[in-house]
């Protein structure tokens, strides 16, 4: 991991709806090759930050730059939406093939092989590829969505609560999967999560969003030591649990 290179640089970002300011002069650096976890209160602007970073929401002021990437790479970012956002009219394999089909001219055989390979990489079987999103369980939906997010080998992967709605075993497996794939493929991950196990197990750094700003950022132990009242309140109830995990 190269700690020096910045993948995403956010400076003085202001985002709001009408009079309501959600992100208030927020600054954040995401390092290349790291997994950065973002925590924050519900309705506190986590999703707004993520959606602004992937240009789904307009910013009022401030700058977002991708110093480590060129234009093409910014386009090739992968996003895992909270509900998966799989195209319901396409089966799992076609969902993974969709971005590939748009990006390059692959022969049908290769397209199938690549899609099957991606599905297997995220721990699904080839036969799961024939299933439609309505036939998939929650965990499988997340896996297919991850396979689709990874279809173009993105340098930057955005995950919106990847383990929400999964049982602890499935969530643990999904965490391990993200970690393994990140090591193999070497992408940068920005993930929103409420799952403290995820924060402890996979995140290199943790950022806490409070009052529209980053209240604390750093390795989990540093964030745990933060004196910011909201950050203390967030981690207080679970500190014993974290100690149990050996943090």
């Amino acid at each position: 991991m190269d700690a020096e290179v910045i993948a995403v640089h956010v400076k003085d970002l202001v985002v709001g709806f009408g009079d309501r300011i959600v992100l208030d002069h927020l600054s954040l650096d995401i390092r290349k090759g790291e997994i950065l976890g973002l925590v924050g209160a519900s309705g506190g602007g986590k999703s707004v930050l993520l959606r602004t970073l992937i240009a789904l929401l307009p910013k009022q002021s401030g700058e977002i730059t991708f110093p480590a990437s060129d234009n093409e790479e910014i386009v090739r970012r992968g996003v895992l939406f909270q509900q998966g956002a799989l195209f319901s009219a396409l089966n799992a394999r076609q969902n993974v093939q969709f971005p590939l089909r748009e990006a390059a001219h692959l022969s049908p055989d290769l397209l199938d092989e690549i899609a099957n390979a991606k599905l297997e990489m995220v721990g699904l079987s080839i036969d799961d590829g024939d299933k439609f999103p309505s036939e998939l369980s929650g965990g499988m939906t997340k896996r297919v969505a991850l396979a689709r997010a990874l279809a173009l080998d993105p340098a930057l992967l955005f995950l919106d609560e990847p383990t929400s709605g999964l049982d602890p075993i499935a969530a643990g497996e999904f965490d391990a999967l993200i970690r393994t794939l990140q090591r193999t493929l070497g992408f940068t991950v920005f993930m929103i999560t409420h799952d403290l196990h995820s924060l402890a197990a996979v995140c290199d750094r943790v950022a806490a969003l409070a009052d529209g700003r980053i209240a604390a950022i750093g390795p989990l132990t540093d964030v745990l030591a933060s004196t910011h009242p909201w950050v203390k309140a967030y981690f207080h109830g679970t500190r014993a649990e974290m100690l149990h995990l050996g943090i």
């Binding site: 290769l110 036969d127 439609f132 990874l150 090591r183």
Partner: protein, 376 residues
Amino acid sequence: MDWSRGLIDLPSLIAIDDGPCSLQAGGAWTLGNVERLERLCQSVSHGRPGAIDVSGVTALDTVGAWLFEKLARQHGRPSGEADFLGASADYAGLLAEVRGLNRRKPAEKPRPFALMDVAIKTARGFAADSLAFLNMLGAVGTAFLGVLRHPASFRLTSTVYQLGRVGWQAIPIMALITFLIGAIIAQQGIFHFRKFGAESYVVDMVGILVLREIGVLIVAIMVAGRSGSAYTAELGSMKMREEIDALRTMGLDPISVLILPRLLALIIALPILAFLGSMAALYGGGFIAWLYGGMSPAIFVARLREAVSVTHFEVGLLKAPFMALVIGLVAACEGFKVKGSAESLGRMTTASVVKSIFLVIVLDGLFAVFFASIGM
């Protein structure tokens, strides 16, 4: 993975005749170059077995790694030797990752679109549709008997609300459309009857046609398109979001809670709309007879009184509740058939409108035969 370099560094693949490696690869093996990569891989498909020298590769992604893996499988892995020579640590991890992938062939799928299969499927679909329709008719009948036995369980508020939606709110558009239809029939009649001086018979034509057939038919088709589709979409999205399951777990019957009020509203609304529609069509006809045919309203009404009898009017309106029943039942059946996807909701809504319009016209034909045979 550097994409800008990937665009500049054209990939290459050279067959080598001697040495430990049979193939030497270079350049960017990435998705952006995939067309060229596929051609390269095909061109060396008959080479000798051996390892692949990847030291010249400048960029590699999953697509490139998979193509290498495919080459290695085609050329046979030499035992005890590394398949890929000169891979950097980054690439070696990726190449190792794809090694276990795509090992199993997907299960053979049955060949689609065999003519016999399609015929069988269509026949089965038709049988299943008929069965579902009868099933729904029975369920609604049972629910209706239940309401008759316990009138307190009838959902009056819901029925009145639905009546407002499918009846009251539909009046303007129904009146406008039927007014125009009446006007068009009158205009065409006057234009063509004028040639043999039978203009006054336009009143007979408009009166009988509107009251017996067109009034109720146009209104029923409009209702199928306007309200039947809405019913299907509503019930379908309720089914998708498990609202109907929630009702069942609360011990409530979705048929009597959701479908009976909608169906009754439709059965009440359609005759009223058909009556209003027929009147609007007669107005349209009279209006055009006055403007275009020069027949004063007083004469039009007098001729109309001679031309039509209450029987024609009865024949028209008797059909309306049955058409409403068919539209409502088809809408409910199709709504309950919706599966999880947004696409299936759209497909079922389309099917609902198409099937109910088809059945309304078939029903109209059957009624025509029936009324002719009893002399009405």
